[in-house]
Symmetry: C2
Subunit: 257 residues, 2 copies
């Protein structure tokens, strides 16, 4: 079994860096062959742009999906993207480490998705959702926040982090993964103590232990339920009797404004 880890943090000595080390060691101990993409240390370019394509379907106008598909078919996917997409597709388990910045992924991780989830190789219209190329594989995100657990809770001032990260997790469902309940660790760099409590462990140490437990229990970790392809009609809208698992795909329009 292979595990691939992606880290999106500028500082290797950060708590995200430390957790990535835990992932590498724990998954290795648990029998996985482990690879790591440390996006900052790789100097990964997150901007999908024409400069990456030496061969073009259309030299006059750059359309990302058109060039992705053309180059996938042509065997000329940009080298960095080719390597990253191979690691993604070879993994049985994918682990993503990142801090929540402005209610989203750091740009370097968002751009890893923009570029590496390449049209024609990682997905196409007949290869997504239930028919996604990563079906049968698991992914889990380990996310840190600076704000406290209270302020990130369902009634917290920062918005419910579980809902905030839904749009970040959904792309992994789109390409076929079983998306596991994410690990969300709050108060990093702030309210979470780096001083030991009476038992000799700091909050960060406790977080690390919990994360190790999660990694060793991936087989029983909750899989986020998403609708099956068959729940949607021809128009790609929920059939009347289909289940709804969240406000994001619902029978009722959610009030926002």
């Amino acid at each position: 079994m292979k595990a691939h880890i992606v880290l999106a943090h500028p500082e290797k000595q950060s708590f995200n860096g430390r957790l990535t080390g835990v992932s590498e060691a724990t998954l290795g101990t648990n029998g996985f062959e482990v690879t790591v993409s440390d996006l900052y240390r790789m100097n990964f370019d997150p901007c999908e742009a024409e400069k990456h394509y030496t061969v073009r379907s259309d030299d006059a106008v750059f359309h990302a999906q058109t060039e992705q598909r053309f180059n996938a078919n042509n065997g000329s996917i940009p080298a960095d993207v080719s390597q990253e997409s191979d690691k993604l597709l070879n993994a049985d388990v994918l682990v993503i480490h990142f801090p929540l910045w402005w209610f989203g992924a750091p740009a370097i991780l968002k751009g890893w998705m923009d570029r590496v989830f390449i049209y024609g190789k990682v997905y196409k219209s007949q290869m997504r959702y239930d028919a996604g190329i990563c079906r049968g594989k698991k992914m889990i995100a380990c996310i840190t926040t600076g704000a406290s657990a209270d302020s990130c809770s369902f009634d917290g001032r920062e918005g419910d982090t579980r809902l905030v990260v839904w749009p970040l997790l959904f792309p992994f469902r789109y390409i076929g993964f079983d998306v596991l309940e994410p690990m969300i660790l709050h108060g990093i760099g702030g309210v979470a103590s780096i001083e030991a409590h009476e038992d000799g462990l700091s909050d960060l140490d406790r977080y690390e232990e919990s994360w190790r437990d999660v990694l060793s229990g991936l087989d029983t970790r909750i899989v986020i339920p998403f609708n099956a392809d068959s729940d949607f009609g021809e128009d790609k809208r929920l059939k009347p009797n289909a289940p709804s698992y969240s406000p994001f795909v619902s029978h009722q329009k959610t009030t926002l404004w």
Copy 2:
């Protein structure tokens, strides 16, 4: 009155590029002094990282917020970020143009937020939400999707785009903006026609007209309601009688898994 426009699309000739031209012309005609940040043409670097800081609070360990605040206080904010944050703060109206990629902003735009919403200048703990530096200013996003309106609707297979973009809009509330209802234009590059209908207008032409109308009616455009600071207790959780405007900040935990 000043308007600032941010474009995040790799192709100037794209529909997003065209809409940006409409924004520039329409706001200019309507009496605004207009500036544009075309992030791709500026070659904006979206990755917050130590390389941007020549002066450091801590040379050994890079912590983004620490260095942002230190450099803001020290008058040594990186030049590109300094310019962008000035444009942001000088604007009475901010318009953001981008295509929805993988249920989020293109990395170059996400990174514009990661870097330009600089701690110590654009926000700090006593300068956010109701006390945000951009209070009294308006922002509106003009977002294109490739998928159809049906599949992006509240019961659509792609998830309700209105909810999907909430985490992208919330940072603007965080720094104090009145966030207007976004313009979301579906099916670009796909189901939206580029051929003229009987009235001589294609779907894209119609979208352009609607957008022009929106720009000329900013004063009456719906402002997305968010909770006031006074709706939260000391613990930053909603007070029992406070209103809830969305599932993101709610009295009840939303089921997701």
